[in-house]
Symmetry: C2
Subunit: 378 residues, 2 copies
């Protein structure tokens, strides 16, 4: 008998009731039954993204919505600020390059904090910048960025504030309208506890204004057409029907828990993960770790990939290895999505088993005990 535990930063585990909902006989999308589902989903996404505006849905992975946040806003030759501090932050600059946008990169060393004043300096130095591309959290480093503070700066400039919230939305508060986020991107396979294949983009009035002037070519990811269809509870092209039906079920689960409780749960689970690791003498990577995913440094003399692989192969806990610069130096345990206290204890126990196998010296049980201390009132 093998029971597997998925604690990766996407895909995350899917509640069985959501899996079964998606396993029901498929329905046709051009009919009122599906349109009722879309109407509910529109409502749920507005609630989750904290916006009165529509949140667009795409049959694609999150990168498709990131691409759209460039091609639907800018024109070749435009300037944009890209904050780069990990593999996914770099993607913003890569997309800009592919579409002939001049990227002004703010490079932050992996694991360091971003000073919002750097964004303001870049905006002042380049008053013709049309968009600022940032991240709420960076999956490769497990870092969280000061979205609220950056948005508060950008809102006084003509540029729009774009946030990759793929591992942020549904994990911690990112209220679009209250903070002045103009585009907030997410994907289905993270906090929304679904298979990958759906991407989301909340879009503010300021962003829709900029959209009117955008000349980058686009077709599949044409946001203006998507909006028109969505307002009729439809999509421009054939939608990922089963995922949208699953999304409706996931959103209902989150609504029942309540957003404050969801965010508190995520904060505590990540804190317990960090405390568990620290109690074993390990270092958590980065100055401002995210509640979505925890990057833990491998102790000296042990390869991070060996820890990740032992966890997965021998102890049935699928986390993630280190990515890019962190390959071999760190491994990751994600606690976003369909995770609760016992999942963290499972992960830390598996980590203890793996570290023991790899010859690391520590007191067995200390990590789990430290995690339990954080989780005791949960």
């Amino acid at each position: 008998m093998v029971k597997r535990y998925l604690l990766a930063p996407g895909p995350t585990a899917i509640p069985p009731e959501v899996l079964l909902k998606m396993a029901e006989p498929i329905i046709h999308h051009r009919n009122p039954i599906f349109e009722t589902v879309v109407a509910e989903v529109r409502d749920g996404l507005k609630w989750l993204f904290g916006t009165k505006n529509e949140v667009l849905l795409f049959a694609s992975s999150g990168t498709g919505a990131m691409e759209g946040a460039v091609t639907n806003m800018l024109s070749p030759g435009d300037k944009a600020i890209c904050v780069r501090s990990g593999k996914f932050g770099e993607r913003w600059a890569e997309i800009c390059q592919a579409y002939g946008i001049e990227a002004i990169n703010i490079d932050v060393e992996w694991g360091e904090e971003l000073d919002p004043a750097d964004v303001e300096r870049a905006l002042k130095a380049n008053p013709d910048v049309k968009a600022v591309y940032t991240q709420a959290t960076e999956t490769s480093t497990g870092m969280r960025f000061p979205t609220r503070e950056i948005a508060a700066i950008v809102r006084d400039y003509p540029a729009i504030m774009v946030v990759d919230g793929i591992t942020g939305v549904g994990v911690f508060d990112l209220p679009m309208d209250a903070w002045g986020i103009d585009i907030l991107i997410s994907g289905s396979q993270k906090a929304l506890m679904l298979p990958p294949g759906l991407a989301f983009a909340g879009v503010s009035d300021k962003a829709w204004e900029l959209n009117k002037t955008s000349k980058c070519p686009k077709f599949y990811f044409s946001w203006a057409k998507e909006l028109k269809n969505l307002q009729k509870n439809q999509t421009n092209f054939t939608p990922a029907i089963s995922l949208i039906i699953g999304l409706n079920a996931s959103l209902k689960i989150l609504r029942e828990e309540g957003l404050e409780n969801v965010y508190r749960r995520n904060e505590l689970l990540a804190k317990a993960t960090r405390e568990g690791a620290k109690a074993l003498g390990l270092k958590v990577f980065g100055k401002n770790p995210s509640p979505a995913v925890t990057a833990i440094c491998a102790p000296e003399g042990i390869d991070g990939q060996d820890i990740y692989k032992t966890l997965w192969k021998k102890y049935n806990v699928t986390g993630a290895g280190g990515q890019g610069q962190l390959k071999g130096k760190a491994f990751r345990i994600a606690t976003l999505g369909y995770a609760e206290k016992y999942d963290v204890l499972t992960a830390i126990a598996a980590l203890e088993f793996a570290l023991r196998d790899l010859g690391y010296q520590f007191v067995v049980g200390k990590g789990v005990a430290a995690a339990m201390e954080v989780l005791k009132d949960m």
Copy 2:
């Protein structure tokens, strides 16, 4: 108790065992278990597309792969021939326009046959044409086009032959290598009996050569990067994991039946649908109806939308209405995918019930009997 029957041209019904396979706990994509699935899927798609080359997979609906067949092959200012004879044929020209490609349109009246000589004339008149965009079948009209004959012409020119086989692949033979098809597109929600959200593109050596010169911007649909990843049993961005797992199951079902049997089944089911309709005094739309979907003309005095809606609302058979020019004038019954003889009898019986309700005069049972006559040896 309500039992519903889905006989629409996409999504098509999904075998329960495939639905349940996709409802299993999700697995992470960056690991050997998933890579084994991708390896099997690569193999199965090559078999289905009749090619030694790779068939690329995208997390998108079919239109995403259509867009990629333009942006990965051409450069702004290039010329392409687009055959337009229905809503989806028109899409080729729309994509070309979005990316600054000069579309030389061959317009064929809806329902009429395309003369391959028209393609040759256009190629001779425009020797700098880089691609010919065609369709194997047109979902909006239920027409089938002479793909083999057009490919035989195009192969002697520098241009590549691109086929939208979204409702063709897995319905009738479209062997890429044998016929000289350079790009063959399909989607998951048709003959492959899956939810929408996966698109496919088989790509020939000639097309990969052209790809090297292409300057259209692209990022999410970047085929060269996708190929590199696929050769390692991976995808460039997070794949639609559950759909790929379902695809593996669907491909196995098709392999077990054998392609010749699959094609024969599809031919017979469509023929039975046509004969059933004709026996009721109805006219089948178009000169060369496709085995994927049958467009049936509404009899005088009855609105095609009323037939479609009565079928769906009262008799639990979901077909499709008329699309574009055919709205109100026709309705459609699709027999591709997870359909067999009893499904056709159900559809024709429901059609008889609906026509009776709408005041049409005919001998009850005559349609079903005619369909049975076609299906008796199946």
